[in-house]
């Protein structure tokens, strides 16, 4: 079996309890947006086994969100790094990662965000990185602030960075959020808590990393991500 672009082995099903359900009543917006009927099982075909490739020459990396608008963004500068692997521990090499987040005050540079916290003209909040041959990535940003949302009375999102991953196939596409250690809002957050399995949930919390902390400059955080692995045998045919 090869791990080349044209690998046609299907991907493994998600492990039970590790993914949130789309019907998650404590997160109010799911109410009218989750399917009522059971999902129809689709054995992976070539459509799901292959996926888009992004060439950094056409999709240029943006590795430092803290200086991307000229000048220095306000807030606590941080370095986030980690490794993307599959469920067998194999590196997911040269895959594109998209990042977006609120500024240090907890405000998104987005017309829909009307939270009464200041915008920072030096911070937009979108980035793009590629993993290297061993699956490693790194970028620099500022720590995003918490922000209120109207899900329930006095609801605040924990500090988080949004992530988008592609991986080797259409079936490995992943959108998730990275959280920060020690955040008291985590145990109150319906989005975080929607993941049934505690271990799976806690893997979304980055860990402080002294090794990548840059002296006199920025704290380091480590966030590793696992994408679905190829199944041992094709499901059919």
């Amino acid at each position: 079996m090869s791990t080349a672009d044209r690998d046609t082995t299907p991907f493994r099903p998600y492990a039970p309890g590790t993914q949130p359900p789309n019907d998650a009543p404590s997160y109010r917006s799911t109410g009218k947006r989750h399917p009522g009927a059971a999902l129809v099982a689709l054995p992976h075909t070539v459509t799901e086994r292959q996926g888009p490739r992004f060439d950094p020459r056409r999709f240029p990396p943006l590795l430092d969100l803290s200086t991307a608008c000229g000048g220095k963004a306000l807030g606590e500068r941080i370095i986030v790094s980690g490794r993307v692997t599959d469920e067998d521990g194999r590196a997911v090499a040269r895959t594109m990662i998209e990042i977006w987040q609120a500024n240090a005050s907890g405000r998104y540079d987005h017309p829909g965000d009307q939270h009464d916290a200041p915008l920072d003209p030096a911070f937009h909040g979108a980035g793009r990185v590629f993993t290297d041959d061993e699956g490693w990535y790194q970028f620099t940003t500022i720590k995003p602030g918490s922000y209120p949302w109207r899900n329930h009375h006095n609801a605040w999102r924990p500090n988080h960075i949004h992530y988008s991953y592609f991986g080797p196939g259409f079936a490995t596409r992943l959108i998730t959020q990275m959280y920060f250690p020690g955040d008291p809002l985590l145990e109150l957050d319906p989005i975080f808590l929607s993941i049934p399995d505690r271990t799976a949930r806690e893997r979304l919390i980055a860990r402080f990393d002294l090794e990548t902390t840059a002296p006199e400059w920025a704290l380091g955080y480590r966030f590793d991500v696992v994408l679905r692995g190829r199944g041992a045998t094709p499901m059919e045919g």
């Binding site: 492990a15 009522g36 689709l42 075909t45 459509t47 987005h110 959108i175």
Partner: protein
């Protein structure tokens, strides 16, 4: 070995990533039969879904400078619109042949894990033998996967996240 990382909602502010040119899969100069694929997305209350991220992926046709992948935001009335190349038949598992289709993923606020579906094209002879279409017995639900031509070259496939008022059937979503 660790299981795959958990999904979380894309939330309402993903447009920070948006590059509107991504909705045109022919922007790098790919040559072929150019089509528009559009539709309107609604929720279980029949309200338009105005903050969704719609992504398509197609392995066919194989054309030079054709990314096969597109992304489009729904607008203030719930519409999404792609320009792409008309796909051809795609090999299936075993000896099966799949009818021309686009793979579809929908991310949005209130969706915890991307909703997967497909867009097929009305009038294709292979629709009658496509393994997925044949697996859906209910004709109305099967039709929810098939785009209709509104004018030549423009295909429409509406999306209903949840069945409910107004009688329109819920779109078939897939467990990949």
């Amino acid at each position: 070995m660790a299981a795959a990382t958990a999904s979380q909602t894309i939330g309402p502010y993903w447009h920070l990533l948006e590059d509107k040119s991504w909705a045109d899969l022919t922007r790098f100069g790919a040559v072929g039969e150019r089509i528009v694929v559009e539709g309107r997305m609604r929720d279980g209350d029949d309200a338009p879904v105005t903050d969704a991220c719609v992504e398509i992926w197609q392995t066919s046709p194989e054309a030079e400078d054709f990314p096969g992948f597109g992304r489009c935001a729904t607008d203030a009335e719930g519409w999404f619109r792609f320009t792409t190349l008309k796909p051809g038949p795609v090999g299936g598992n075993g000896n099966a042949l799949q009818a021309p289709h686009l793979a579809l993923t929908i991310f949005a606020r209130g969706i915890m894990i991307g909703l997967r579906s497909r867009i097929y094209f009305a009038g294709e002879a292979l629709n009658a033998t496509d393994p997925l279409l044949c697996a859906i017995e209910d004709a109305e639900r099967r039709a929810s996967l098939i785009a209709e031509a509104t004018v030549p070259g423009v295909w429409r496939r509406d999306i209903r996240l949840q069945g409910g008022v107004a009688g329109a059937p819920e779109t078939v979503f897939l467990d990949l």
